[in-house]
Amino acid sequence: MLRQIHSLAGLISALLVMLIGLTGAVLSINPALERLAISVPAGVSVAELAGRVVRHYPGAEQIQRTASGTIIVYYSAGDVSGVDRVDPSSGMAIAPYAPPAYARWFKELHRSLFLDTPGSAAVGITALLMLLVSSSGLFLLLKRVGGWRQLARPLHGNRSQRWHAAVARFAVAGLLLSAVTGSYMSAATFSFISDGSQDEPDIPATTSGGTPLPAARLPALLATSLADLRELSFPLAGDSSAVYTLRIRQGDAYVDQSSGALLAFRAHSNVRESFELIYQLHTGEGLWWLGLILGLSALGAPWLAVTGIAVWWQRQRAKPRIANNSAPASADCVILVGSENNSTWGFARALHDALRQAGQRVHTAPMNQFSSRHNAARQLFILTATYGDGDAPACATHFLTNVAGIAPNQAASYAVLGFGDRQFPTFCQFAQEVDAAMAARGWRRSLELALIDRQSPQEFARWGSQVGALLGHELVLDYAPAHPHTHALQLRERIAYGEEEHDPTVVLRFIAAPLPASAGWLKSRLARHRLPRFEAGDLAGVMAPGSSMPRFYSLASGSGDGVLEICVRKQPGGVCSSYLYHLLPGDRIEAFIQPNPQFRPALGKAPVILIGAGTGIGPLAGFIRNNTGQHPMYLYWGGRHPDSDFLYEPELRNYLADRRLTQLHTAFSRVTNGVHVQTRLMEDADNMRRLIADDGQVLVCGSRAMAASVRQAMDQILAPLKLDVAALREKGRYREDVF
């Protein structure tokens, strides 16, 4: 519900919020600019200032002190009238004053879109929608990260989702403040609420009518500090019945021009003071630093609108569209889906279609709909993601309660498939809870709980073959979520290792493919034949010709290195790895980038421990290559034989020599007394503990089996420090990229 409100209000207001955000950001600079030009003397009375001003401006009509402290004098001299900014300590002109034309233009656009009252109304409604969007967004963000305390930790999701949440995290406070104060000001403009400006002192019916005194000698002005002044209007010369109008921070009054008495002072009401405070909080006038913060937040608005629309669109595209859904009572198989962003529905649909092709009657539904109606089915498949800090996704929030009330069907069995991201400590936690709850209720489990990392099509296909074996027929789950558009790359260099071995390795360096000569003039001008942006540790998705399922390779270079470098081991029977292994310089491939921002060395001087085996060295070598600041980096790497597959050997020697790499520890398994990398870690346990005690960070890249052995070794090594991998992972100090 919250999400629907957020999306709907966001979509309706997106364009206007963008416009108002951008214009607001421009306006926010003004208070700071004005502030730069000011010095306000202390201990000066309004009378002194008026005296100084009148000396230079005999035709002074009005003195204003703006919120930022600028003193402005309106004057007439003969037929000429003008406005000057004056120096408060001398009363002398500094420069003619005119609010910059651009500011006026932007202000009008910001307040009313140049459409007068209808425009102001549109802006007011936008402010209300913005209030709705930012408050619902804040709740969604808190739910997503798992509470206030977790607000700063890394974010889940695809690129648009992460950007949306990251910008929201930075801008939400400012946007909320702008939305609340903006809505209030709009309500005041339309007189829905009072701004207190009607509370004027009564105009004095009579004045003393004597000979006017010079402004500098009027007691009421002598008693008023310049710091409190808002505005002083002089009486028209020669009109003995006229009075000075004095507006100060505390209230408004009139001052008799001959007696200098304060006439009819009226203090500002609370309503008026609240309005002024809110006005200040909205415009930053007199609070230049707040203005800048609000402006920066406002700059986030267009960004949030664009990424928000992208997220919404992705979710709409992934929306459940299940064709040929059998009725629950007549279905052989029931697929229950728990998804927050609808991406799990794509997998469910693929399973649904494959089961139907195999002749099953299938019913697919959100997990919350699970009831005894589904009890007739023989097979129950539960596909679920985990939301936020281990919670249920929106369409599965009642599932655990429902299960408790449904008698298990002894003839049926169930299998749970979890979707998540191994980078996060609560990886597939909800799927685990569901699996355990079903078993505890007495349901028969047909397949062990299976977990899918980052929507991996390979893992899904593997699970599919298990399901096929269970049902007694072949089941092909060929499903990959939509991937971003690809870039054309050309192989420039290929360095082969262990060619005599059964599964040799190759380091491949690609450049952006030049456009074919047949490309037209316009296309060659418009097309970017540059590399896409990426960093070492990000992933390159490559599809072998004829396959729709990408394989992911960790990048060993950043786009700044001018090449896209990956390290590929030719897998026995591996379609994509064979394809890549047999590429020759000049060959072209298509690839896309999947950012992997969690797997990167943290900023700062703390030591970085890099652990890898085999081609897992790729991203680690990339980190070392870019360590030009010579931060302490320790590499533990395991290979097979130093003569055949010591990947990156010459480079690593160079990095040691120029101190980009502090220490190198290698472990080779196919030599006499061969060891694996985890053994090397254990041997160097003292060093490891010292580095961890120094706030060290661990980055592990390699196969899943190796990563598990390394975790085990690290837990043993860390035990004397009363630490373990889980504790380090929680703080983002232990990160893995496994395949």
């Binding site: 009005q62 034309a101 028209l236």
Partner: protein, 156 residues
Amino acid sequence: MKNITACACLAGALALPGFVQARPVTLTAQLKNYAGNGAYLAVYVTDAAGKYKKTLWVAGKKTKYYKHLSDWARGSGLNAGEFDGISGASVGSGKTLKVTVELADTLIDAGYEIRVDSAAEDGRDNPADVRTPLSKQGAGKPVGGRGYVKSFIYDM
């Protein structure tokens, strides 16, 4: 250039004792090209000493800004009875205000003045932007203003 034309009927005011005969008077105020939002104007009659007599027209709808038309505000006491039914939209930069009002004959050639106060957002307040004697002879003769008003003319 857009003319803002309106007609006000002062039946109620005319019923006051002494104000028996009245005639239509057309007020035309041409504004300067200043930078800023629409100006608020108050057109009113004073005696020679500047003492407020009567409001002829107020341009600008939001009464909370009327205090910036300070001489008029002081004279009229911002009593709604003084401007009910004789107000219209504010007048944009470079635009012309043209309205026809009813004016009692007793005010003409009797030493009275027409005055215009003007004010605009983020700009100066101009009490007595325009001052011109109210006489048959002065009718049709444009006078300059010292604030936002470029020229002002009344025809009868």
